[in-house]
Symmetry: C2
Subunit: 271 residues, 2 copies
């Protein structure tokens, strides 16, 4: 996410100085070789030079880093992030000293492949970019983060922090849980029926795609939004039970209405 | 499926005469205007002229049509189909008179959009095409259907009928059920939280895609493979319960192992 952001800023004419910080020497070497940023560093302390710090690590890592930045950033600096859950992130931002500013931020894009080798200047184009106010947000900080989002082609949208996590539990975390469980159940089934992997077509491929995503990123998302995710899974199980009951009864008209309503909703909300 | 098959046969140099049969006058008019086939007809009885009849209707419709073809086809004619379930189709083929031949057939491709307007000459390219023997199959009939599949770029593969339906319950019908239940649960949630549809990204889009597919086609698939689908859904629910239990306990290491195994399986079986 960070390398793509640097690429996208440069591709869209951003003239400011970019500092790339990573623990990985290989990532830093590649960033330098490809001229992705002006300065590379393995030390978070380099963030002390920045006007805006964009944390692109997994959610629980970035929460730790917010605490570390409290003693590193200069007065007036803006800390923001790219985490997919916001409640715990914003709580950490709220606790920052009053001379720092912070805006919760969530660009809604990604790939199954993470890391600098998958960097893509067009990753953010057309993506929703959700912004959440914190106790350390002022209007200027919000408009600066908003402008960065617009610079890379995303569409910023402000949203309350709890609202964010409740919506994302359905829009993103539940689909991931289903993809993981689908692959796991099929993998179990394949112990006796290995040919199942040879008869795969587009439906399974698409439905399971997100299960291949970065595990540490998702572990942090699930653990920082567990209650909302568990609620969404329960709602889903209730709905799946309705489907099962219709099929068990061979209730043709009920099943047709159930499938038709879902097809209609999918077509209405996605082009 | 039928219009795409005609297009694909022509695009790949098939020189035989093509007869297109549909109940829809509009489909026939379009087929004629686009020169998709040599002859158009609204009457199934025209299939009596064919050496090979390819039924591309929903599964329960094509089962009825197999019965009708018993009195229409000429001796030695080969009846095949494109249905996504095989047990009930093959049962109908088994009951055909001994002067007819029949091969169960399932090209594993498709789109959310059905009908002649979505016809696509490349639809079958690279797709697995499953073939099932019936009591009315001989080696010549099998090799003729196999050659048609290869002609349009698909990869034919023979499979037993019950095996087919058990595998497809996981590989195709379960993902559809999950997509439908995901959209339905989210649609219910959106009654109180309509903004959920505004924060959608790639994960939900992909996981739910197949829910937009043709309802009549899927209703027939589910009703002709109900027991295997119900079994796959039960296996899935058991797996989802394991996920839920790990998340409820905030079992970080257990959850990490669960997610990592799914990511590994997904990456192993899909490029």
């Amino acid at each position: 996410m960070g390398a793509s952001f640097a690429l996208a800023l440069r591709a869209n004419g951003y003239a400011g100085r970019l500092i790339g910080i990573s623990r990985s020497a290989e990532t830093l070497r590649k960033a330098q070789a490809r001229d992705l940023v002006d300065i590379v560093s393995s030390e978070l302390s380099h963030a002390g030079e920045a006007d805006v710090v964009v944390l692109c690590t997994p959610v629980r890592t970035l929460i730790t880093q917010i605490g570390q930045l409290a003693n590193l950033c200069r007065p007036g600096a803006i800390i923001t992030d790219m985490g997919s859950t916001k409640t715990e992130v914003v709580r950490a931002m709220d606790a920052l000293p009053a001379h720092l500013r912070a805006v919760g931020s969530h660009p809604m894009c990604g790939k199954e492949t993470a890391g600098i080798d998958a960097a893509d200047a067009s990753l953010y184009r057309g993506a929703p970019w959700l912004l959440t106010r914190t106790r350390r947000s002022d209007d200027e900080a919000l408009s600066i983060v908003r402008a960065l989002a617009e610079r890379v082609g995303a569409t910023p949208r402000e949203i309350g922090v709890e609202h964010h996590d409740a919506l994302l539990a359905f829009a993103s975390h539940l689909p991931y849980a289903l993809a993981v469980a689908l692959v796991t159940a099929t993998d179990q089934f394949s112990l006796n029926q290995p040919e199942v992997w040879q008869v795969m077509a587009g439906g399974f491929r698409d439905t399971s795609r997100v299960a291949a995503s970065d595990v540490t990123m998702w572990l942090d998302i699930l653990l920082t939004n567990a209650d909302a995710v568990l609620g969404a899974v329960r709602d889903f199980q209730f709905t799946l039970d309705q489907f099962t009951a219709l099929l068990e009864r061979r209730d043709e008209e009920g099943l047709r209405a159930f499938l038709a309503a879902a097809a209609q909703a999918r077509k209405t909300h996605f082009r």
